[in-house]
Amino acid sequence: MKKIRKSVLIQAPVERVFDYASNPENFPEVWPSMVEVSNIERKADGKHSFDWVYKMAGIRFHGHTDTTEVIPNQRVVTKSEKGIESVFTWTYAAEGGGTRLTVETQYTLPGTVLDKLAEPFLIRTNEREAETVLENIKSRLEMAAERTTGKQAQR
């Protein structure tokens, strides 16, 4: 299993970051290689499941994700099967008036991509992808806030 841990400070309230980043509908918007999310099912306890199509090194993989743990505005753990096996832990913590969002993932590189490209390249690509996802979430929430503030200022 490969491991990645990345973190970003977002100038937005924890509730807002949690609402956005824990909603699978938003993944294709900020996650470059997440081609598609479908069949989202939300349960009463806050857990959800969904199907996904993900592209790694040009190869498309189909999989399914289930939430295994959810503490609102604090922590979400998901487990993915088929296509690319992985466990994601998303942590949300208040920090300096904003939110520290941390993602930790453990994943297995599929044999089909290892046949195609060298492992160090794939590991680096996935690390960069995780950094990009966090930076995109930050931009999405902070820039939307700026726009809202701008509109309010015009009134």
């Binding site: 938003n26 294709p28 918007e29 900020v30 470059p32 290689s33 081609v35 592209k55 090194a57 040009g58 089909t112 046949d115 195609k116 490209l117 060298a118 390249f121 680096r124 690509t125 960069r128 992808e129 990009t132 930076e135 995109n136 931009s139 999405r140 820039m143 939307a144 700026e146 726009r147």
Partner: protein, 158 residues
């Protein structure tokens, strides 16, 4: 039109980087949001035209790419129509025993996206995407013998 210009130093021969980066078959491998390339047709003037499906900020767009300037191992200018109108200029220059790859993009943000998301967010997203594209091309083309073997193996996979 929005404009982006990114550049990267690559420790690999110019012809190797040119052959890899300008082959449409490789685009989904190094371009994270490029979902699919299809209907590739080689052109007698060099390069090829092709159809593509691209995801920008979660929305899918279909388009067609045509080379309008092709200078082997030096420069490729590509015009994209439909989905996302854009012009891409790829420049390849020898530098310090390796090469410098520069990509300039002029593009129109699709109005459907502007109605949904803030423009600064979309611009930032695309800027990060371009960084990833160049970093991926660098990593793949700098890789040495073991990967060259894998590239040969890839032929049999497809």
């Amino acid at each position: 039109m929005a404009k982006l210009r990114k550049s990267i130093s690559i420790h690999a021969p110019v012809d190797r980087v040119f052959a890899y980066a300008t082959n449409a078959d490789n685009v989904p491998e190094y371009w994270p949001s490029m979902i699919e390339v299809s209907n590739k047709k080689d052109l007698p003037s060099g390069g090829h035209e092709f159809d593509w499906t691209y995801k920008m900020a979660g929305m899918r767009f279909h388009g067609h790419s045509t080379p309008i300037e092709y200078e082997q191992n030096r420069r490729l200018t590509v015009r994209n129509e439909k989905g996302i109108e854009s012009t891409l200029v790829w420049s390849f220059e020898g530098e310090n025993g390796g090469m410098r790859l520069t990509l300039e993009v002029e593009y129109q943000i699709p109005p459907t996206l502007l109605g949904k998301l803030a423009q600064p967010f979309i611009l930032k997203l695309n800027e990060r995407e371009l960084d990833s594209v160049l970093e991926n091309i660098k990593a793949i083309t700098e890789a040495t013998a073991p990967v060259a073997t894998n590239v040969q193996a890839r032929t049999s996979v497809h």
